[in-house]
């Protein structure tokens, strides 16, 4: 392969990985930014999205339906959890959230195993997306292009949601000054439930997107969690734009790093995370914690 097609292919690979990471990252950063909750269970919600997506495709035969249904279900479950359990813990210190979300990860991981079994499940890609397109004579799966497109669309949608809608405004305001929002008459608790639900729903939709590519499997959760944390830390906890930058950075480093220096790719990524943290403790675009 010549250099230019290779470079373009690798960049597209990186962008498609970044898209998946972005779904995970923006959900986590939203939750942290508004609620100061470090959601250990985020990877589990991602995994749940993949499995629910698999079931949805099985029952309805329609991938697009699954794409809509799964995040709603997963987000709904997240919101319910916030309502039932997390809500009682707001007065307490951060330890409580850590424990509870860790506990939730264990529960969800095992529940998924009981409901869906140990084997990796193949999700059928919709026929319209399963072909390839030739970019500079090199085949590239259309599905990955779809992923990149979806990432951009969802990113724009969330940005507009935060900027233009009332709920978005409330969310941004709550992250800055929850008491004032409360004093102005809004039930902050509802905002929090909505945010947690949306954050988990985003993780869930990431899972549905990922499933046809990587198959739904029980190992998804722990790997997703650490990747997500790295992105959000690099980009800045609580910064939506930061999660995008973090996702891009991590994806490119992983793709090009594992190509040229496969032995050091992992270490390199953590080294970058460390360097950024030392230079800017809040992350690239985060507020100083």
């Amino acid at each position: 392969m010549d250099f230019l097609p290779f470079l373009v292919t690798q960049c597209l690979n990186a962008l498609s990985q970044a898209a998946l990471l972005f779904f995970l990252g923006c959900g986590l950063t939203l939750i942290f930014g508004i609620m100061r909750i470090v959601n250990f269970a985020h990877g589990a919600f991602f995994m749940l999205g993949a499995y629910v997506g698999w079931s949805a495709v099985r029952w309805t035969g329609n991938f697009w339906l699954a794409l809509v249904a799964a995040p709603l279900l997963v987000g709904g479950f997240g919101a319910a959890f916030e309502l039932g359990i997390l809500r009682r813990l707001y007065g307490r210190d951060g330890h409580a959230f850590l424990m509870v979300t860790f506990g939730l990860t264990l529960i969800m991981g095992e529940a998924i195993r009981l409901l869906w079994g140990v084997e990796a499940l193949q999700v059928q890609m919709p026929a319209s997306l399963s072909d390839i397109v030739f970019i500079l004579d090199e085949p590239f799966p259309i599905y990955r292009l779809f992923l990149i497109g979806s990432g951009i669309v969802v990113g724009l949608a969330i940005w507009q949601f935060l900027e233009r809608t009332r709920l978005g405004l409330l969310i941004r305001a709550t992250s800055q000054n929850a008491e004032m929002v409360h004093a102005l008459g809004t039930d902050v608790r509802l905002v929090r439930s909505a945010v947690f639900g949306i954050g988990c729903g985003l993780a869930g939709i990431g899972g549905v997107f990922a499933a046809p590519m990587v198959t739904a499997s029980l190992g998804m959760a722990p790997n997703a969690v650490i990747d997500t944390f790295v992105i959000v830390i690099i980009g800045g906890m609580g910064s939506f734009a930061g999660s995008m930058i973090g996702a891009l950075l991590v994806a490119f480093v992983q793709v090009f790093g594992s190509y040229y220096f496969p032995d050091f790719a992992m270490a390199f990524m953590y080294l970058i995370m460390l360097t950024i943290l030392v230079v800017r403790p809040g992350g690239l675009l985060g507020k100083e914690a």
Partner: protein, 397 residues
Amino acid sequence: MPGLHRRALLVSALASPVVLRHALGETPIKIGMPVALTGPAGEIGAQMRRGAEFWAKHTNAKGGLLGRPIELVIQDTGGDPAACVRKAQDVVERDGCRLLFGMTLSSEALAVVPKLAEWNAVFMSSDNGDGRLTGSSLVPNFFRANTSGPMGTRAVSLYLRQAQYKGFYAIGMDYAWGRNSIGVFKDEVQKAGKNFIGDVYSPIGTKDFSTYITKIRQSGADACFLVLQGDDNAAFLSQARQYRLPDKVQLLTEIVDLNSIAATGEASVGLIGSSRYSYTFPGAANAEFVEMWKKEYNTFPDTFEGEQWQAGLILAAGITKAGSIDADKLRPALENIEIDSIKGHVKIRACDHQGEQQGFMVKVVKKDGVAKPFPELIATFPADQVTPACGKMTYDS
């Protein structure tokens, strides 16, 4: 959720030693089995468990061993070597097991074997691939009934000598088995006078193989050797198909099992690889086993289920010959023991406790009238060509 409840009960009933003990009145022979039932290797561990339970049930129905029923003590290790050491110690100390099965990953086995002498327990491996277990890390109480990684790799390389491929690439999971097998492969390719272009290792749990696939494409190889298993294998095969990699590069693999075929569907068609066990193997013994299995589970037996069955047969032969389960008597009885198994003739060598057996190459094909793709036997190699010299992991010719 009634279905869940029923399934959970069924599972615990199957695992319950009580069911087996009351069938015969004698003190049972306990076999400890720390195995990965959860985690990325969970599917393989589940196969090993089923294989062991089926063997135990079948043996007990015929009167057990030495007139005593077999009792399996199965524990989940999650695929973590530290947990495996803990569980193995537990079944030895708490349940008094003197015999061990299981230990799904080679890294788990490598962690446990140094302790076998201290526990005076014999371990019969049914799936560990790493060559060192019968080489530099060999301990007297370890026996390997299954095809090892080097043996599987050797079958692939022998097959390649007749094939037209010139340049080879390799991708493996970044741990003991992956590195070991690719090392052997590289040696074989170079001995055959062909070109070994390069290799790459992916961390266990890799989800996105796009960059590795691009690398393989770019290398100019016309064949690529895969040393992947479980979820990683499924993900790689799916994505390779998405990038149309098999059109350009023939994929060869060290292990072909039904589970990855089921997980990847069409994406696995055309795959050529070594098979440690397949229900499509010839011979009356295998046909009989497959029939019995189908009657019990309504499905074909998979790779590790068959390997576990063979391990059980060998252990049983050794115990019968020794007249005891005591390690000091069992060890010499197992050395040089020979049986006719579902894979043909198998002999446990005295020098390094490796089971000498044939090597098999299969190709995943889709045929009309058969719902799913299946592994078709394309080549068989005799035991003396496939098994390495004593204690070695590489081959002289």
